[in-house]
Symmetry: C2
Amino acid sequence: MPLFLNNDEVDQLITMKDTMEALEILYRELGAGAAVTAPRSDVHSPTAAAQNAEGPMAHYLKSMSGASPHFETAALRFSSDIVAWRHTGGGMRREKLPMLPGERWMGIILLFSSANGELLAIMNDGVLQRFRVGGANGVSTKYLARQDAENVGLIGSGWQAGTQVMAVCEARKIKKIKVFSPTKANRERFANETSAQVAVEIIPVDSYEAAVKDVDIVISSTNARKPFLGKWALSEGVHISAMQRDEFDDEALNACSPLIVHSHATENNVTSSALAHFEQDGFKLRDHPTARGIDWQSLPTLPDLLSGRVAGRENDQQITGFVNNIGMGAQFAAVGKKVYDAAKATGAGHEVPSEWFTQDVHP
Amino acid sequence: MPLFLNNDEVDQLITMKDTMEALEILYRELGAGAAVTAPRSDVHSPTAAAQNAEGPMAHYLKSMSGASPHFETAALRFSSDIVAWRHTGGGMRREKLPMLPGERWMGIILLFSSANGELLAIMNDGVLQRFRVGGANGVSTKYLARQDAENVGLIGSGWQAGTQVMAVCEARKIKKIKVFSPTKANRERFANETSAQVAVEIIPVDSYEAAVKDVDIVISSTNARKPFLGKWALSEGVHISAMQRDEFDDEALNACSPLIVHSHATENNVTSSALAHFEQDGFKLRDHPTARGIDWQSLPTLPDLLSGRVAGRENDQQITGFVNNIGMGAQFAAVGKKVYDAAKATGAGHEVPSEWFTQDVHP
């Protein structure tokens, strides 16, 4: 019978160690062509939701899938959201609104056995999503940062920054982390809370410059849509670990050798033409990245790095870089299996009637 | 709270009239660019299932999605199957094996509200799948067959042939249907059972030729992988309605004016290279159609026809044709809403805890 696991349960079961172990295996399998990951499907359509005076709104159904032969699993992750675009200081910003009863969102991972096809688990995706993002950056750091790296500069203090800290502490013996984000209260709260979790000193600092000064690893964990970290943020031998594409500028990224991206998978984006007139306003309905001088498709991927097709760090002077440019459905097949196994071992979650998901007719 | 509907419940709630009404609206919306449908994602990976002596086996995770603004819904349909390829008289044939406990398959439709994003229903997909296939052919017949069409020749007597009969009877006032399939017992049983359902005379006949002689509409409903119906099967003024691509040969299809396909949507097919050696044996892991002299992408679609971009039948002499070449996720958004509304009106199905599918963290 399928197991249902909510976010609180996933949070009790998941560890960054397991996440990074699972992702390492997956990236090797992807590098060898054994594991598979399909492009994401994004379906945007007009919504009858209360309209937003500041910009367009749409219903957004997202899905992605993939499979890991090692873990004998496949996964389908989906979310159904009302999204709104609002003007902010930095241009239009897309927001997922909590429109469901109780101000909730919907995001689900379905984990299947590839041995017999059965649905193993239904999980809320929020916590696992956070771990697989941090975990991908953590694996890159394990393979690219200097072996003696111990000081980290972190830009950003949001929910995702927490798993970025867990991941860097898993990848290296970190002694000190400096954190900067524009709101003082946020960075101070983050430093307090996260320091206790990882048992590493985390110091809030007053500027971007202070955060990146004299560190071995720079982590960016923001939702910026315009690059704001330049070559000034880099020093000899540093590893930069970006959570998304538009944090470090072209010059900074071009200074990295190697510069590794997460994946070349793209998205299949279909949008009702009823929404097309909004595209005139200088932004896209999907948060398309700003035009960049970087040819992302030409860059090696994390699976290329882990399977040895490209060399990693070769000396302590070079600057290395990783950009977590796009997620993969297959991450949920690998990390999801770790969470499922932990749930079975501890009796967590509760079972869902399997007849709901199966049928006696050949579809 | 989401409603769960199994196949028996869907079968009680669904009608061919509702199905064709919903699809007509959807095709107009698609023709106008208001509705959207995303390419199907097919993920194939090696399976640890008991191996098949006759050929390869794989785990196959399929998903497709789409949205209909008219119905204020979006849908995600997925299935998780163990597939095996076996030698048959006509070459390799792909089969979905009932590997789940109780010899069952898994196929699910998730129906979402595009007004607030909530999950409205979880449905087994077998019955609805059958109706949406027949319904697409039925809509084509409504728009392309002669107004006075009353005699039908049907090739095939499987499960899908039943909804093809319902659909043609919904599209025109049909008086007589002749059915041929190679096994006598099958066509006789089909004629008996289906005749009672649609209150139209259905006569089993002994050959392809007898089935298509002196009829106004020829329907093919088979899983052939090599075309077997030629120009000899066509007569002046006939409409041909093919359930899939490889039933009528190139010459027969080229005799049609217009020749309409269902959709230009393609699939995103990702296959583990661990399965690649099987591709040497002269077949593809996906049931790729045989090479054809038809440029499917250049042909008008059913949405093109219903939105008036291409002309339909202009006289009683011309031969018209429709090929249901590939399905669309958006069909489940439209027809699924009809089933959901019928369930709400009658109190059918049972509710699933909505907290299983929602979360209080922003994913």
